[in-house]
């Protein structure tokens, strides 16, 4: 039985301006990494000709010896990082998420997770951020692939503040981790000092009718969906999942018991990410209706990121509609 722990309520969710200012989390990531590198000389960055796309030019200029650019060679990149960790350094591997996770998956499994190395794998521009570049450049499978690997926490920050917290957490922990560093623009949601712990969701709004559990770039859209639903008299509990692994199982079970259905939302394929994780927990501990929103088992058509998110219903309107359907299925 899962012990019930209260979810962190977040008082400080910032009221969005209309329209809100949006941020690319890669900048917050690079700023925080440089800040930490100034006081901890074990911090090194490893990349695959991705100084620009990982926003590491500043890091390179400030710490030229501590940026290891292996060229276009992801398997070598992850192996080199494992070796750097063997030598007492703490590598942050910064590379476009589809190539880091897809090309070097066995290195991630054997050299990092199984060998228990303190290496931080930073998947840049995940989800459908690369839009028109097409499915080769979309990283929607990463959460499914990596969730199948033991000893690998998966962090999906939702805004710049959570991205900074994720970088600090990854340095302070003693083992491997995967950080999804989003490029798809998001508003600032969390105030500095907001709790950030493995296995703990954050509760953005209270609600008894339905629960929306979102990760990363779609947290703010879930919060907007809750506002849409509220106007219709439906109260939606919104939970942000900064950690997809380990999952906040207690919060999932509470949502299953206390509301009439769950909608999960992620910028990823629904086959094995947040939605599958949530469904696994409720089916074991407290069966409930779960609808998983994401990329539904297809390669995306051509279009920019905004178009693709709309196309797959990953908008406030699409999330609200899924919530209505869950409630209809539950016999409201």
């Amino acid at each position: 039985m899962i012990e019930s722990t209260p979810v962190h309520p977040v008082a400080g969710v910032r009221p969005a301006a209309d329209p809100p200012a949006l941020f690319d989390c890669r900048k917050a990531f690079a700023d925080e990494l440089a800040t930490l590198a100034r006081t901890d000389e074990r911090v090194v960055a490893v990349c695959n000709d991705s100084v620009g796309s990982s926003n590491l030019a500043g890091f390179r200029d400030e710490f030229p010896d501590r940026l290891v650019n292996v060229g276009i060679a992801e398997q070598n990149m992850v192996g080199v990082a494992a070796g750097l960790a063997n030598g007492g350094l703490i590598p942050f591997v910064c590379a476009a998420a589809p190539f880091l996770t897809g090309r070097a998956l066995e290195q991630i499994k054997a050299d990092i997770a199984y060998a228990d190395r303190h290496v931080v794998l930073c998947g840049m521009s995940p989800g459908v951020a690369y839009g028109q570049l097409g499915p080769t450049h979309h990283s929607i499978e990463d959460l499914s692939w990596l969730r199948a690997i033991a000893n690998l926490p998966i962090v999906v920050p939702a805004d710049p503040e959570q991205t900074r917290a994720a970088v600090r957490w990854a340095l302070s922990t003693d083992g491997p981790g995967y950080l999804r560093v989003s490029r798809t623009p998001v508003p600032e949601l969390f105030a500095p000092g907001t709790p950030f712990e493995p296995g703990r969701f954050l509760q953005l709004t209270e609600g008894e009718d339905v629960t929306l559990i979102a990760a990363g770039t779609l947290v703010w859209r879930a919060a907007e969906a809750a506002a849409v639903l509220r106007a219709e008299g439906i109260s939606a509990r919104v939970l942000a999942a900064p950690f997809v692994e380990p999952l906040d199982q207690a919060a999932v079970v509470a949502a299953a018991r206390e509301t009439r259905g769950i909608v999960t939302v992620e910028e990823a394929t629904v086959s094995g990410g947040l939605g599958a994780a949530v469904a696994g927990v409720v089916s074991r501990y407290s069966p409930a209706r779960v609808r998983s929103l994401g990329i539904p088992g297809v390669f995306a058509p051509t279009g920019d990121a905004e178009f693709l998110l709309d196309h797959f219903g990953l908008t406030a309107g699409g999330i609200a509609e899924s919530a209505r359907q869950v409630l209809a299925d539950a016999g409201r």
Binding site: V44, G71, A73, V80, A82, N86, A110
Partner: protein, 293 residues
Amino acid sequence: MLTSSRPQVEQWQAFRARIHGAGRDERASLLAAASDQVRRDVLTMIERAGLGHVGGDFSVTDILLTLYAAVLSVEPARPDWPDRDRLILSKGHSAAALYATLASCGFFPAAALTTFMAPLSALNGHPDRTKVPGVETNTGPLGHGLPVGVGTALAARLRHSSARTVVVLGDGELQEGSNWEAAMFAAHQRLGSITAVIDRNGLQQGARTEDTNALEPLADKWRSFGWHVTEVDGHDHASLAEVLAHTAPDRPTAVIAHTQKGRGVSFMTDRVEWHHKVPNDDELALARAELSR
């Protein structure tokens, strides 16, 4: 996690001192005798487990034993000593030879060898660094060791440590592209502290390398990638000790060690089927007799 064996460490230190003080011929015969002890241990491990990769174990034994007895700077009682030399066994399926060698140095008690591949043993069929002191990274899938070795060598340079990195590779695994990513990068970085030793026994699991996906001209390949290349008889201990003690400034070194799969046992030597065949009782007796001469 296994822990070191003090009496065995002391014995190994005395052996190292003897090797160090010996002339070339005496050194060779001491190393050869110790290598055959490792081979006998491997036979017993495989006999108990009913599983193993005896062919590759026996081709790499002389290389591993020579490295630990005469070349590497390690402290078995302090396996996490930051300035230790790193030995990375990229051909992880030769774990039995590595375990027997590490036990001979006292990284863990030799009694643990009897648990090789037994349920819940620390001694898995491929090495796990979180359970076995002296193991630097987890290998098994091929083509992983050299990239990790390049990282350890880079870390040593960044930390101003004189530690060396030696990666022992199978020849067949050079068909994995990741090796060549790492080879290119080590040369670009002018990593003089890394040595790749290729256990060139000419056989992979299913056939000769040259009949599968040919590696030759192998020395030219490494040279063209910017490596200093030496070739050596991988069963000639005195030559191995000399060659492996050498590094080139500003350039990584590849040592192509010409070996035989199943070396030491006549009916296993250079025979592809002994990649992972398990000897029966008669074969074990014959093999033990040949390794005890």
